[in-house]
């Protein structure tokens, strides 16, 4: 990744063969449209639906939005699988912390 620019050309070729080959602009524009639409869904649900339903919609849609950002914008989709596992383990650690804390608070 840090080769001197004299061999930059070979570097470009190497890139072209790897996961980082440029995506078309339309992939990102479509993702953006989806993210905007999902935001509208969440906002609409919180305004027009009763409290718990609105919260449920937000809890369902927000991870979906996060996945779109991670997979497409942060191109996790095109990275080696090990990155996805690393990311999921970070989320897993958070989930363990969360559940332990909630057990403590709910049953004390």
């Amino acid at each position: 990744m840090h080769e001197p620019s004299t061999i930059a050309h070979a570097h470009v070729d190497a890139y072209a063969n790897q996961a980082h080959a440029p995506q078309s602009y339309s992939v990102f524009i479509l993702t953006w449209v989806a993210l905007m639409a999902l935001t509208c869904v969440t906002v609409g649900a919180s305004v027009y639906l009763p409290g718990t339903v609105g919260t449920a919609v937000a809890m369902a849609v927000t991870p979906l939005k996060a996945s779109l950002v991670l997979l497409i914008f942060m191109h996790l989709k095109w990275e080696p699988v090990v990155f996805r596992w690393m990311f999921l383990s970070a989320v897993g650690i958070m989930a363990v912390f969360m559940s332990l804390t909630f057990f403590d608070y709910l049953y004390r």
Binding site: T42, S46, V47, G51, T62, V91, F102
Partner: protein, 185 residues
């Protein structure tokens, strides 16, 4: 870069944990306090930030294609949108301040426990996020200057790519902040 992003996730994740515990303990107060936040500004800022993530991504794609002009243009728009986000945030915080709601204020101390906690978390979490936006803007400015001087180019754009990853993380955190603070009803 990803390792750094994981530490960031755990940093914000911990705050989300604190938030969820207190929301469980003070459900009613959290809902009352959240009703005072400006939903329109929160949602507008979401649109601004999501769009800035798009322009950031377009900048990375443009440099991969060797299109320096488009890279600089999209980086400019990303910076512009980041600035817009901060201006909106400043208006929002300004309105809270003028109502006597700021960290450590008398008014905040007189509120019921749960509401005070909600505002405390609101200021800490959006403040930490805002700080990340400022850092991101500095980073993007450095990247834009290097693209202009030709030090970042089609053959070596790791810094631009990493700045992009960081910027998307900032966007990612906001995606969670919106429903937690602005859409609680």
């Amino acid at each position: 870069m990803w390792i750094f992003l994981f530490t960031e996730l755990l940093l914000f994740g911990r705050l989300f944990l604190v938030y969820s515990v207190y929301r469980l303990l003070y459900t009613h107060e959290f809902h009352l306090a959240a009703a005072h936040l400006n939903r329109v500004l929160g949602v507008t800022n979401t649109f601004v930030l999501l769009t800035s993530s798009l322009t950031m991504m377009l900048a990375v794609t443009a440099i991969q294609r060797g299109d320096r002009r488009s890279t600089l243009n999209t980086l400019f728009w990303t910076l512009f949108l980041a600035g817009t986000f901060l201006v909106i945030k400043a208006f929002e915080w300004g309105a809270k301040f003028s109502h006597g709601l700021y960290p450590g204020s008398e008014h905040l101390r007189e509120l019921p426990d749960g509401e005070g906690l909600f505002y405390g978390l609101y200021f800490v979490m959006t403040g930490l996020h805002g700080f990340h936006v400022v850092v991101g803007m500095i980073l993007l400015t450095v990247v834009a200057l290097r693209v202009r001087s030709g030090r970042i180019h089609q053959g070596d754009f790791v810094l631009l790519e990493n700045a992009g990853l960081y910027w998307h993380l900032v966007d990612l955190v906001w995606v969670f902040l919106l429903p937690l603070f602005y859409l609680t009803n």
